[in-house]
Amino acid sequence: MTFLIRILLIISAILMLVFMLKRIRQSKLKIEYTIFWIAFSTLLVLMGIFPKVFYRISGLIGFQSPISMVFLVIIFVLIVKMFFMTIQISQLENKVDALAQQIAIDRKIDKDAEKE
């Protein structure tokens, strides 16, 4: 990995972290949703600071160059994250639907009770 890429990794990780913490500070983000990003940016920083460890791992697995392993790891983590987010979004939508329907039904029942 070139020096430039290492610096880039570290800076982007820190920027990511700062952004997340700012959202928490403004009370616009739940803490449990930042745990992933804190862990992920820590991983990026580690990659930037100790590239030797990753050279060795990529050599062991048999990558041509360490940088392609870095890319692969990042892409893999993000795809898994996206997979779980898709599931989460679908569950959320279900919940909102259920809520709206329940409210409508309750309103109707209340109104019917008033009429009687």
Binding site: L21, R25, L29, K30, I35, L99
Partner: protein, 230 residues
């Protein structure tokens, strides 16, 4: 007449325990008001509450403990209660300790925790190791010793009720306690005894506990330092 204290009982799939717990409170501790918050249970919890005529907030969907407890505190805030206590629906908590906690909070505290370990040592189980780690983490970041940070029996004053009711990231968990302490909330602990849960399973198994600990530690040691109050 309305009591000054509201007992908030969040319940998720507690059909086996809820009747014993709430009937006991209603019959023997009628001086306190209570409300059961049914957190979208999939079993007969809501049905039992309705049949028995319990005070009930029936959430149409599952929000998790934080959301259910917040619903209870919003209710407490709207109705103008001076104090609110978080009380488990699984029979672990014993209402005879509520009075001691109420007396303590009236001395001018914001939070009173019903602690199992104020005068007794923690046993050497894995669960207690977790509790100990959280005690150390809170001590490190706030300088205050909380002997039983995971105790679910916590009483809150009126200003706290308002904060919990209106804000994000105020789950009834150790990291919120740590955050409030750091921001100058006054806390006290009262020695209590707790039962083992009577029926059903706790939602924290081994991987669940590991996740919980990771979340709490990252939150207490790192994230809470960046939060701003108010």
């Amino acid at each position: 007449m309305q009591s000054e204290l509201l007992i908030v009982i969040p319940a998720y799939n507690e059909e086996e325990n809820i009747e014993n717990v709430v009937t006991y409170i209603r019959d023997n501790y009628a001086q306190y008001d209570y409300v059961v918050v049914n957190d979208g249970s999939k079993d007969r919890t809501a049905e039992i509450c309705r049949r028995k005529g319990y005070e009930l907030l029936d959430l149409p969907t599952n929000l998790g403990l934080a959301g259910a407890f917040q619903a209870g505190l919003k209710y407490a805030y709207t109705k103008g209660y001076s104090y609110a206590i978080q009380f488990d629906a699984d029979g672990q908590h014993r209402p005879e300790f509520i009075q001691a906690m109420l007396d303590r909070i009236k001395e001018g505290y914001d939070i009173v925790i019903g602690s199992r370990f104020l005068n007794y040592r923690k046993s050497k189980s894995l669960r207690m190791v977790g509790s100990k780690i959280l005690t150390v983490a809170i001590k490190m970041t706030t300088g205050i010793r909380v002997s039983d940070p995971t105790s679910g029996m916590r009483m809150f004053s009126r200003p706290m009720i308002k904060e919990f009711a209106q804000n994000l990231n105020y789950g009834p968990e150790p990291d919120t306690v740590s955050y409030l302490l750091k921001n100058g909330a006054k806390i006290s602990e009262v020695q209590v005894k707790m039962e083992e849960r009577q029926f059903g399973e706790s939602y924290l198994n081994l991987t669940g506990s590991a996740k919980y600990m990771l979340k709490m530690l990252i939150s207490i040691l790192f994230v809470q330092n960046f939060r701003k109050r108010g």
